[in-house]
Structures are given as structure tokens and as C-alpha cells.
Amino acid sequence: MPDALSDLPEAAQRRFSQGSFSSGLSVSDFAACLDMGLEPVGLVQGFCAMHWGAFSMSALGRGATPFSGTQGGYVQNYQCPHGMISSDHRSWGQNYQQGWVEDAWRTGFNSAYSRMMEEAQTLGAHGVVGVIDSENPLSDTGVVEFHLRGTAVKLMDAPAPSATPWSTFLAGQRLAKVFEAGYAPVSIITSVASVRVWSYCVTEFLIEGTGGMWSNTTGAAEIHQIVDAQNQVRDLARTRVRSSLHGDALLGAHLEVSAREFSKGDLEFQSRLSGNRVRRFKDFEPLAVPRPSVRLS
């Protein structure tokens, strides 16, 4: 049951004690769960509405010299090769990791996740299967709602759980195959990385396809600053996920990257990597080579 620090609404506690279960599983996933000896005990959810008040420094934050206070994260500077000093000519550029955006995202996601898991613990569940997560803007005032939901399950005829429940995005037959392959679910893992790009003259010329009087120094070339940002934002998310695996495996990973432009030459790349952390509990059994078949209909 939740402790004194629990923020589980009293109405939810009452609902959970009424003796019937709810589930987000499809009928086939429900049947597969029962086959595995996992009994659904409730649809559990967690919410967190985050106000995105301090998303980033605006373009006004661009001073005369590159920004240096990036909380020790990734930062890379780019210097104009033209020796030109003009308000129209971007004499320096910078890529930097927006640690405060990542922290805010992590706070929102982790709060929603721990609230969902708290509901599962209240139900005495051993784990949560079929987790679905979403983030949606609640309004145009910079409020983002994190919502996680899944189906809490109990292992049939097993003692009450003594540890934090495990969680997985998988359910049904896909989860059954994970067990059969020798993996036990540990938790879902999601990580976000954010890299801001303040482009310098060369990036600007290459993106716009112009060089003006400087075209002889730019020409056609790889757009290094954007490439660095794009590769870094993926790498940061992957490195963070890897560091939280502690020797376990990440299955069914999904990496997505989004970009947005705040103003000319001011971009943000955000990557998000999620997957299922699993731990091997037995060695792979030798598998026969698959036998191809053709279905005749």
C-alpha cells in the first residue's frame, strides 16, 4: 500500500480495493497473459503536467561570444573563416546540449512513470505489461502532459512481490517469446537528448545554398555543424540509455529524432530512444534453423 508520501488519489485507492480488474490488453494479449500465468489486476496510469517555462535561451541569448555555461554537457564552437565583422554575418556558431530541457523532460516522464508504478504496487502487482506512453500539449501555454498507462499483472500462485514491479512495453505473444528466449523484463527505458544549434555563416550559406561573395570559401560541402548536432543528439540518447542498462539488454529499441526551427539559424534537434530493458535468466537454447514455409490460400 502507498506510504505517507504517496500522492495516489484516495478515490483510486478505493477503486482498486473493489475487487474487479480493468486492463488495457486486447483479448488475444489477455489470453496470452493468462497462458504465461500472469493475471491482470488493473489498468494503471500515471500523469504529470509540466510547465515548459524555461525551454531555452532565445536568440537574444546570443551574445558577442559563444555561450559557455552548458552544465558540462556537449558543446562545440564554430568560427567564421572569413574574418568578416558585421551584424549580418554570423561570425561564430555553436552546438550545445540543452541539459535543462532533458532534465525537465526526465522529471515529467519519471513522475508519471513512478505514479503508474505506485498504482501497480498498490494492487500488489509483480509487473506492468503493455505500457503505452504519450506526451501531449495541454494548451498553447507551454504545458505538456506526460501520460503512461499499462496493465498491472500478478504472477499466479506466487507470494506477494517483495521488490519494485518490473515493466515492459511488450504484452501478449511478444512478451511470451521474450521469456522463451531466456529474458526477464526489468523495466521500460526512455531517454531524451536535446541539442541546440546556433548556426554560423558557413552553415547558413550551405543550408541556403548561397555563398554570396564568400562562395569560393564554402562551395558545395558537407554541412558539418548540422551533421555534428544530428549525430551528437542520437549519441547522447544512446549513451544515456546504455549507461542505465548496467549489463542488461535493450530489446525493441525505437529511436526517433525531431527538429524544429525557432528562427533563422536557430534550431533544436531532439532525440528520443526507448525500449525494453531485459535481463538474461538462462542461456539461449540452441535453436534449429528456421524451416521456410509458403502458405497456400
Binding site: W166, E222, I223, D235, H246, L250, K282, A288, L296
Partner: protein
């Protein structure tokens, strides 16, 4: 898939109970593995003695100077070479990452590419794989393939091996018609040979480049070729043709016949519920 008949297989319930009752002991952090493969794909890989190692990704953007798309004749070389360089750079980075992670190749590479008026963007994401037997040395360069893990498995079973990703791209001007032929054809249903010829020209150049890449990799062919073609919204008189596929070669002395088993479903056809029959 089946297991050897001599070993009695525990029931699924027993396996689940065992999995969930094992204490979560500390494991060697160096053993971490990341993969975007499904569990089915991982099992497929294991069946031929391979395993995933690491999720790898790479990006490249290459610029195309302004004005290349508007007027001209023949191939738009700046655009074609920008595409080739962006693809090459992204692939090189991907292979470098895979090699650093101990992979012998990358399978299931998702290719996102976009051609803009002033730059080409290529993004690759895939899972580095290696033989389960760690004593097996990498005897050739690391490969990348957009074949799924399942297709990679079937390819290996058939005695073939992937050599790498090959691509060919060509962007060609469709010459503008003369004023008199434009006026003449305005009310006619006729073939616009300038566009047809431009498409042929782009196709031949792109296919030739992909084939040259395949030969450079010592491959005997390219499988699962995807073709992207057509006009571009920002260039009214240019067409593009891009071909991407996985280069393969025969690894065993002869092709291994896989002889698929025929399966006939004995299920009755499903009777679908139709709400309209209630009225």
C-alpha cells in the same frame, strides 16, 4: 522454430515463473546490448549463430549550391554528387560505429533520405550484429544492409552473404520546350518526350552507379532494390531517380536450395460481423 527433440522443453508458465523468481543479480556492464530488432528477429539471428550488439546510427547532410535546379541541360551533377557523398559519409560513419562496437555488420538499416533544393539529408539507423562465437574473426570489412534480420537469416541459409549498401542517384533536367511547341501542344494529348527522356537518362545513370558500387564491393548482385523517382516540388523541370539495395555474393560453393514447405490452412474462412445485417 523447434528445439532438439531430445531435450524436454519446460512449459511457458514454468519459464515465466523461473524468470520472475530469479534474483536480479548484478551483471557485467560491458555485456550491455542494445537493439531495435524484435524478439522474433533476434531468435532468427540466433538460429544461424548471430546476435545483436548495438544500435547504431549516422547522419550526413551535403549542400547543393543555389540555382542548380533552375536552368540547364543534362545531369544536375551538383545534386547527384551531393546525394552520393551524403550517402557515402553516412554509411562510413555507420560502419565505423558498428566496427567500434564489435559488430561484423549492420542489419535492418532504416534509410531516411530527403532531397531539398539546397541540400541532401541521409539518416541511417540499424543494429550491429556479430557471430555468437566470439572467436570468429572478422575476415572482411563490416557490412551494412537494409535487409531485415529475417531476410538476412534467409540469405545466409541460402548460402549468400551481404556485402554492403549500394546506391545510385541521378538528377536530370527535362529541357524546356520551345515556345512554338508549347503553344502547339497546349490543346493536345501528347507524350512530353523531354520528361520521358530525362527519366530514362536519370534511371540509367542511377542504376549504372549502383551497379558499379556493387562491383566495387565484389558483389554478384543487388537484392531488394528500392526505387525513388519522380519530379521534385522545388524544381519544375528536373527529375530524379534513386536506387538503393543490398549487395550480395555467394558465400558457399553453390546456392543452397531452401525448399520451403507448403502450408495449407484448414481454418474456415472467417465470418466477419457486419453491423448492417442487423437493420
Amino acid at each position: 522454430m523447434s528445439t532438439p527433440a531430445s531435450t524436454p522443453r519446460p512449459s511457458l508458465r514454468d519459464e515465466v515463473r523461473r524468470a520472475l523468481s530469479e534474483p536480479l543479480t548484478t551483471v557485467d556492464a560491458a555485456q550491455s546490448m542494445t537493439s531495435d530488432l524484435s524478439i522474433d528477429e533476434e531468435l532468427n539471428l540466433h538460429s544461424i549463430g548471430w546476435e545483436p550488439v548495438e544500435l547504431v546510427s549516422a547522419v550526413s547532410l551535403h549542400s547543393i549550391p543555389y540555382g542548380y535546379w533552375n536552368w540547364g541541360q543534362g545531369e544536375i551533377e551538383g545534386a547527384s554528387s551531393a546525394h552520393a557523398t551524403a550517402f557515402l559519409n553516412a554509411t562510413t560513419r555507420l560502419l565505423h560505429e558498428a566496427g567500434a562496437a564489435g559488430g561484423h555488420g549492420v542489419v535492418g538499416v532504416h534509410i531516411d533520405r530527403a532531397v531539398h533544393s539546397t541540400f541532401v539529408e541521409v539518416s541511417l539507423v540499424g543494429t550491429a550484429v556479430r557471430p555468437v562465437d566470439r572467436t570468429k574473426r572478422l575476415e572482411r570489412s563490416v557490412f551494412a544492409s537494409d535487409l531485415s534480420a529475417r531476410d538476412f537469416t534467409m540469405l545466409m541459409i541460402a548460402g549468400w552473404e551481404p556485402m554492403g549498401l549500394a546506391t545510385g542517384a541521378s538528377f536530370v533536367f527535362a529541357p524546356r520546350r520551345t515556345m512554338s511547341s508549347t503553344l502547339q501542344q497546349q490543346s493536345q494529348n501528347v507524350e512530353l518526350t523531354n520528361f520521358t527522356e530525362a527519366m530514362y537518362s536519370a534511371r540509367e545513370a542511377a542504376m549504372q552507379r549502383m551497379q558499379e558500387m556493387a562491383i566495387d564491393m565484389r558483389g554478384t548482385g543487388v537484392v531488394d532494390v528500392k526505387v525513388h523517382e519522380g519530379p521534385m516540388s522545388f524544381a519544375s523541370h528536373a527529375v530524379g531517380f534513386v536506387a538503393i539495395g543490398t549487395v550480395v555474393r555467394l558465400a558457399s560453393p553453390t546456392h543452397q536450395m531452401i525448399n520451403p514447405t507448403m502450408v495449407v490452412s484448414l481454418n474456415d474462412a472467417t465470418v466477419a460481423f457486419d453491423a448492417q445485417t442487423l437493420s
